[in-house]
Every structure is written in C-alpha cells, then in structure tokens.
C-alpha cells in the first residue's frame, strides 16, 4: 500500500516536472519530448495503480503521437531549435492567470468531489483486460465505432483538402519543368 502510494507520488511528480520543462525550453523538439515523458509518467502512474492495460496503452500511444507533433512543431515554428533567441510566447499575464485558476479548480474538485468507495481489491490484470474488451465490444461499441468513423472521415477530408488541385494550366507547367 505504502509502496504503491510512493510510486504514484514519484511518477506524479515526474509528470509535473516534465510538464514544467515543456514551457521552460525554447527548443520545439525538447518541448514535444518533455510532454511525451510527462505522459509516459502518467502511464507509469496507471501501472502503479494496478491498471496495467491502460498504463501500457498510454505509454505506447504517446510515443508516436508526440513524435509526430514534434515534426509539425519543427515545420511550422520559425526557431525550432530555440537557438535564435526568439521569444515565442505571448499573452504571458493572461496565461499565468488562467493556469493558476485552472490548477486551483482542479485541486478543489479533487478534494471536494465524491469519488465513491475505494475498491478493496483490484481484479487481476488479465481479468481487467477481458472486462475492458467485453465493454468495448458490448455496451460501448456504438460510441467507439462512431468516434472511429468520425476521425477517419476527418482524416480523409483533411488529406483531400491538402492535395493541390490539378488544373490543366498547372499540369502543363509541371510537364514543362520535368
């Protein structure tokens, strides 16, 4: 019990620590990977709280997602390495205020909310995975399938929009240049 609390605390602090690094660094890749390790620490918190499947899934998903985010940040920011001394922040006072208020609200909710009775014993990891599978392919199937199709449609639409329109004029240009 104490060991569990200890590890949850350690990974929780690591998550906050990496979260702070995200905003302290000027390098876009450092920032993206700090966010990744913050999320990985959250995944480790899941593992410490005996939710193995969620923990492993979180650790797996974030690696790819944050890396892809890193390349987009490098592509779109003017000083991706943070070595040009550019200040890429804005609305500092407003964002500090908003951050403090949001943190305060989160803390109040965490302490005042009724979280229900604490589970005496968590089912073992294999049973949890099975129960999750039954849930995803049972009651929640429609919700997840709808979400999946919606995201797929958005991806196809975004790709279609990104492909330049091939008119007769510019296809002739292309042939000339080739």
């Amino acid at each position: 019990m104490y060991a569990q609390a200890f590890f949850v605390a350690v990974f929780g602090l690591a998550a906050i620590g990496f979260g702070v690094v995200v905003f302290r660094t000027s390098s876009m890749v450092r920032s993206a990977l700090a966010l990744l390790f913050s999320q990985t620490a959250v995944g480790c918190m899941f593992l410490a709280m005996q939710t193995e499947f969620l923990g492993v899934l979180q650790i797996m998903m974030m690696a790819t997602e944050m890396s892809i985010m890193a390349i987009f940040m490098v592509m779109f920011m003017m000083d991706p390495g943070g070595m040009g001394g550019m200040d890429m922040t804005h609305q500092k006072r407003f964002s500090i205020g908003a951050g403090v208020v949001a943190a305060g609200v989160a803390i109040v909710v965490a302490f005042w909310a009724d979280w229900g009775p604490v589970t005496a014993e968590a089912p073992d990891a294999a049973m949890q995975t099975r129960a999750l599978g039954m849930e995803l392919l049972g009651r929640s199937m429609l919700i997840f399938e709808t979400a999946g199709i919606t995201i797929l449609t958005a991806m196809i639409a975004a790709t279609a929009v990104a492909i330049p329109v091939q008119t007769t004029a510019n296809s002739a240009d292309k042939e000339d240049t080739e």
Partner: protein, 298 residues
C-alpha cells in the same frame, strides 16, 4: 535469477549475430572480433559535435538499448524463463518498441548535424509505414491464443505453429520487424553511402559502441518476438525448451541479416505506398481469415 539468465542469453545472441555479420561482410569467421571492436571503440575519442542538444545526444543510445532490453523482458525463453510474464505482454512489446522512434529522433536531433537530422525524421516516416504491420499481425496472433500473455501465445501453438496457421501474418510481421530494426533494405535512418551514416554519423567512441550494441539487441529482440508469435517459441523435440528458443531466435536474426544483404535499399515513398496500399489490406485479410478459422475450426 530469470533476469540475469535472459540478459546473458540476449548478450550471447548479440555476440553470435555480430560474428555472423562480420563473417558475411568480410568473409572471415572471427569469434573475438565483436569484443575487440567494442574495446577499440572504448579506447577511441568520443567526440561531441559543436552546439549539440546534449541531453538528447547522450540519452539516445542508452534509451535505444533500454527499450530493446525492455521488449525482450516479456518474451519467454522457456515456460518459466521470462523476466515479466505480463497480462498485456503482446501489447507491452509494442509500447517498448515505440520508443525506438523516440531514441532515433533524439539521435537525429541531438548532434545538430544535417545528415543525422534527416535520418531521424526519416524514421518517423518509416514508422508510419510499418507500425500497422506490427500491430495488426500481433492482433491475429492474440485472437488465436485468446490472450495477450506471451507464454499463453506460445502454448496456443502447441501442435500447429502460427507460421503455418497464419503464414500471411508471419510474412507481414517479418518485413515490418526488419523495418522496425532499421536493417537493410529498410536502413533509411542510417543509409550508409547516401546519408553518411545518418543517425550514426555524429557518434564516435563509447557512444557509438552503445548505439551498435543497442541496434544488434533490437534485432535479437525482434527475432525473439517472431519466434514467440509465429515459430512456436520453446516447442521442439529432444532439446530443452530454452535451446529451441535460442536456435529459432538466431535463425530468424540471421535470415533478417541475409535478406538485407541481397536486397537494394527501398525508397521511403515506395515503402509508405506498399505498406499502406498492399500491406494493410493484407493484414486485414489475415485478421478476417484467422477470425474465421478461430470460429469455425475447433
């Protein structure tokens, strides 16, 4: 105890693979060569390039080694010889190996060099090509075993190995595993002769030694995963279970090496196109066929 045994087995396999690699490239069989080469690297100057991202530069080789070992931690050599027999083993290996990408992006970005950076980002494109072909064949393997536990997956192949039960899945996984290990013909992030070493380019001395060790460990981990998922793991006659696991793992690793020696390097765009237009439909077909087999054949 299991930890030490598996680690020693991993190290021994890496050494054998390095010997075979040296044999195929130089034509001479020199068992001491990997050790001597490692010692030579330790003796050399380990240069740090100008204005590096020091944290990434130092972390990348170590991270690559750690994730390769973590991936091997859930793969059994024998029924009880596994470091962590996790309930989500088949998912965990994906989670661990997803950080190969992170390590290579770090190795690419860290040294502040153009070739290294191109190599690092190239691997991101490579991941988008191969990732589904790692996950979807494993899904079909888990469907047959009705479990994500790696030891249960091996037990499910008692009598009929997955390479026979789902050959399509095996072919896709084998190719994707080679792409994940960035071995030729998928060595786009390093691309010797074209990118001057890519992510390897700026590493020297002890750091390069760790990076090379990590790459070979990654190959062994993926060969071991292929053994566990498709080649019946420890199953085999006469010899003890761990011996079968090691023999199969080395056979897969060497076949990856040989396949790479006789194939030209693939272009990034071609890899992406073939993986998405051919690989993923085939992986879906594999899942459907395995699903039907699981439901119809008792």
């Amino acid at each position: 105890m299991n930890f030490v045994i598996v680690l020693l087995a991993l190290l021994g396999s890496v050494w054998l693979l390095a010997v075979v690699e040296g044999w195929t490239t130089t034509g001479r069989l020199r068992p001491a060569a990997p050790l001597l080469s490692g010692l030579a690297h330790l003796g050399r100057e380990s240069i740090v390039p100008r204005t590096p991202d020091r944290v990434f530069f130092e972390t990348a080789p170590v991270l690559l080694l750690i994730v390769a070992v973590l991936g091997a931690a859930v793969l059994p050599l024998a029924p009880t010889l596994v470091i962590a027999d996790l309930a989500t083993g088949a998912l965990f290996i994906n989670a661990a190996l997803a950080y190969v990408l992170v390590a290579l992006i770090m190795a690419g970005w860290g040294p502040n060099g153009a070739y290294a950076m191109i190599g690092g980002w190239r691997f991101l494109g490579q991941l988008i090509a191969y990732a589904m072909l790692i996950v979807m064949p494993i899904t079909a393997v888990a469907m047959r075993a009705e479990s994500l536990v790696t030891t249960v997956i091996v037990v499910s192949q008692d009598g009929l190995w997955n390479i026979v039960y789902q050959p399509l899945g095996f072919v896709l996984f084998f190719i994707a595993a080679m792409a994940l290990a960035f071995r030729a013909p998928f060595d786009l992030p390093t691309a010797p002769g074209e990118l001057g070493g890519g992510v390897d380019a700026e590493y020297t001395g002890v750091r390069l030694a760790v990076l090379r060790l990590a790459r070979l460990t990654l190959v062994i981990t993926l060969a071991s995963a292929t053994t566990v998922f498709y080649l019946g793991g420890w199953h085999g006659p006469l010899l003890p279970p761990w011996a079968w696991s090691l023999i199969k793992t080395l056979a897969v690793a060497v076949s990856m090496l040989l396949a790479g020696r006789y194939l030209p390097r693939i272009r990034e765009a071609d890899l992406m196109r073939w993986c998405w237009t051919l690989g993923i439909p085939l992986a879906l077909l594999n899942i459907i066929v395995v699903g039907l087999l699981v439901l119809v054949v008792p």
